[in-house]
């Protein structure tokens, strides 16, 4: 048992009477997850700047194609379904890992990974179709803002897939350690946060297009 565990491993009944200054350091899991939570919120602030740019520039098509002419709702619904389902399976993956079920962990991680790849495939198909039709990021301010916002989200998803692969390698080599649980929980927070950003993207960019 580490020093931190020893200091914090007290009976909850006693703990309520202990003044906050005498409770000792917070558990590592709480410190790590809270720090990661702050990072995620700052990442969402980053996206908010891109959303603001898109909201301001969405009408500036410079005579080029506008949103409703370019966007395919069915494609967006498929993307949304993939990302939402992958968020759910990612939660099941962390639960399986916490329950020390190795097979289920790999299974749900693989499903999460496949859904993430499917999302990226839908997105890249849309991007190549748009660029092929002459609606690339250089066409108008609207399209610059669109590719920056949606592309940044796509980059985050790509990074998340890499992280998931690394986590599965750590599950295979390091096994069920507290350290690996903490990292996997951080990954699942990251993945859920991307889903929250995507809600903003499909509502404002795709459904809000007029």
């Amino acid at each position: 048992m580490s020093l931190v565990d020893a200091l914090t491993d007290t009976d909850p009944a006693d703990r309520d009477d202990t003044p906050i200054s005498e409770r000792g350091p917070a558990p590592v899991q709480v410190v790590v997850a809270f720090g990661f939570w702050l990072f995620l919120l700052s990442d969402i602030v980053l996206f908010s700047a891109l959303f603001a740019a898109y909201a301001v520039l969405s009408g500036q098509t410079a005579g080029g194609p506008s949103g409703p002419q370019l966007f395919d709702r069915t494609n967006v619904l498929m993307e949304t379904g993939c990302l939402l389902a992958s968020s759910f399976t990612c939660g099941l993956c962390t639960l399986s890992f916490e329950a020390h079920k190795r097979g289920a962990t790999y299974l749900w991680a693989a499903v999460t990974f496949a859904l993430g790849v499917a999302f990226l495939a839908f997105e890249l198909t849309e991007f190549t179709r748009m660029i092929g039709n002459g609606a690339g990021p250089t066409r108008s301010a609207f399209l610059s803002a669109f590719f920056t916002l949606v592309g940044t989200h796509g980059l985050h998803v790509t990074f998340g897939l890499g992280w998931l692969a690394v986590m599965m390698a750590q599950v295979a080599t390091l096994g069920f350690r507290e350290m690996v649980i903490r990292r996997l929980l951080c990954f699942s927070l990251f993945w859920h946060a991307l889903d929250i950003v995507w809600i903003g993207v499909f509502t404002i960019v795709y459904l809000g297009a007029h």
Partner: protein, 126 residues
Amino acid sequence: MAQLQDSRDKAPGGGSRGRNGVLTYATGFFFAIILTLASFWAADTKMVWGPGVPVLLAALAIGQMGVHVVFFFHISSGPDDTNNFLALAFGMFVVGLVVFGSMLIMANLNANMVDMPMDRLMQMQR
């Protein structure tokens, strides 16, 4: 991980242990699907008064974000979640400032802009 249950503060995303974690995620997934389909329906429907559609879409999106925060991040308004909740509130405050502030300022600048074709503007700059 005894320290998770004993701690006064809760970690975001944690705290599902001991409760029915799968049920929590499944409930969140269910509500998220309903709200997503409602959003896609609302964007195309003729049943809602036209100018009201963006408001409806915004309400559905905020509702779905709330579902994610509660069921996937396991953030609550309980006393063991004060730090997480305050951080979230501050984050949302900054997001609101950036997005609505930018939109307000740019709409104001646009409204005060002299309406003039671009080629004449360019000539004036020479």
